[in-house]
Amino acid sequence: MTTQASVLANLAEVRAMIRKHKRNDFIFSIIGLLALMLGLLTLFTLFIDLVATGYPRFSLDFLTNYPSRKAAHAGLLSAWVGSLLVMLVTFISAVPMGVAAGVYLEEYAPKNWFSDLIEINVTNLAGVPSIVYGLLALGLFVYGLGFGESILTAGLTLGLLILPIVIVNTRESIRGIPIAIREAAYAVGATKWQVVFHHVLHYASGGILTGVIIGMARAIGETAPIITIGALTFIAFLPPSPVSDVAPFINVEWLSSGFTVLPIQMFNWLSRPDHAFHINAAATGALIIVVTLLMNATAIWLRYRIRKNIKW
């Protein structure tokens, strides 16, 4: 029976082929796992190292003390308050602008070569080294507009830095909304603004928020542009409070105050010869990583919460 023989031979060939393909499958899964582990383990080791080194400084005092000449008494008060205020300015400046720009590009702008050009440039902006933003800010905000080496300058600089991230994320989450939903709204006579405001922004808010938080998490660790615009490194005072006890209860003096931020404080301590300060730096590094991870975790949780009720 030649046909049976040929069928069997063919089958053997096919089986050999499948075995070979499966082997490739296995090899790739090992390589992939290794690649993943390499990245994760590096981060994990770094984090453990920082925690182990900085451990002696983990106390409330570390958060409530100003920097000091004595490493053991030095704290992060001015740095984390500075970071918080700078982030506030970043949020207020980048979010409305980024979301508005994203909505405009996606919903309003005519689709032609010019909008394509803008799209490519916005995406590229997200990849520009942060020190370039620092130089731009030094020329524009510090000297050109005369904002000085202030919280306002730093906040706006980081705002510029994360603007492309917010725009790109806004556009992507808007794009995820099915056309059928827009048509449903248009078909009852909604205007473009009504469609955007009642539906598009609403359903895209999860993705937009995620983009904002991821952008902020990047901004909080940025050092280079902040150094470029001349943040102070040794500050033993707090900026004036943004809220006051007399009407109108909000003051803006803090915007023009000198400041420092967490990564700068860390950089400063790290560059001192005395090893005791390196312990402070490690503790600060661990804190920054924890804050960043918490922000990203919040982003993931929010996205899950908001999308849970929406299935297209």
Binding site: P110, K111, P178, A180, I181, R182, E183, A184, A185, Y186, A187, V188, G189, A190, T191, Q194, H198, H199, Y203, N309, I310, K311
Partner: protein
């Protein structure tokens, strides 16, 4: 046509339509929709029936480069709704639409129906409540959802979602309602309920329905138009089209020799 007893609600006059690609999807369509009658559009895929339907609420305006040439005149006011001076929003406020797949908003049942009223700026809760109830009753959905108006619309079945979309289209008292293959995503039982609903809606408004299902056209419509390759081949009483068509092409399509 034998049984015309109703005034013309809207009519297309020598309507051509071009997609942005340059494709001419409608070629010189002239036909009338009669008031409080159901007109069905049949024909093979790509014949232009959905394109024609979507001219009536200017849906094509949403995508750049599309071009209308010709008129759709609405009566009694004689407005050419394709005129560039006529706001598509105004057209959509008079002519509502039900889509192929149910497309409720990810909001509550109540908010879905109320949306057309919200768009019109209605803020009086009593008015909105009444309209929502009326529309849901009109769409034969009220009894099923009256105790869970604030549940998410996604929790409804496919047929219920489609009736919700009809209620949403109904809440604003449109003059004409467009149905773009409204049952193609539904099971036979849900389909029957939508067809029954359309027959009831016929007492209130004019209906234009695109359907792939010839039996459906025969069951629900008063008039039927057969389209092919962007042209209107034949338009007549549904009975006549299905029993004694005037054109050979129509007969071939109806009897399944073609398409």
């Amino acid at each position: 046509m034998a049984t015309i007893t109703s005034p013309v609600k809207a009519e297309s006059r020598d309507l051509n339509f071009y997609y942005s690609s340059g494709h001419k999807a409608l070629k010189g369509i002239s036909m009338a929709l009669y008031e409080k009658r159901i007109t069905a559009l049949i024909g093979p895929s790509g014949c232009g029936k959905s394109t024609f339907l979507r001219c009536f609420n200017r849906m094509h305006d949403l995508y750049p480069g599309n071009k209308y040439d010709g008129q759709i005149v609405m009566h009694p006011d004689n407005t050419n709704i394709l005129d560039s001076g006529v706001d598509p929003i105004e057209v959509r406020m008079r002519i509502s639409m039900v889509f192929q797949k149910p497309n409720p908003f990810p909001k509550s049942i109540y908010e879905n129906v109320a949306y057309g009223l919200r768009v019109r700026g209605e803020r009086n809760k009593r008015v909105v409540d009444d309209k929502v109830e009326e529309a849901l009753k009109g769409a034969a959905l009220w009894d099923e959802v009256k105790n869970r108006l604030h549940d998410l619309a996604f929790n409804l079945s496919g047929g219920q979602q489609q009736r919700l979309c009809i209620a949403r289209a109904l809440a604003t008292d449109p003059e004409i309602m467009l149905f773009d293959e409204p049952t193609s995503a539904l099971d036979p039982i849900a389909t029957a309920s939508i067809e029954e609903l359309m027959s009831e809606l016929r007492n209130k408004l004019t209906i234009l329905v695109v359907t792939h299902n010839m039996q459906q056209a025969a069951r629900v419509s008063d008039y039927t138009a057969y389209m092919y390759l962007g042209e209107l081949i034949e338009y007549d009483d549904t009975d006549k089209i299905f029993t004694n068509p005037g054109r050979k092409e129509t007969e071939d399509y109806i009897t399944g020799k073609f398409g």
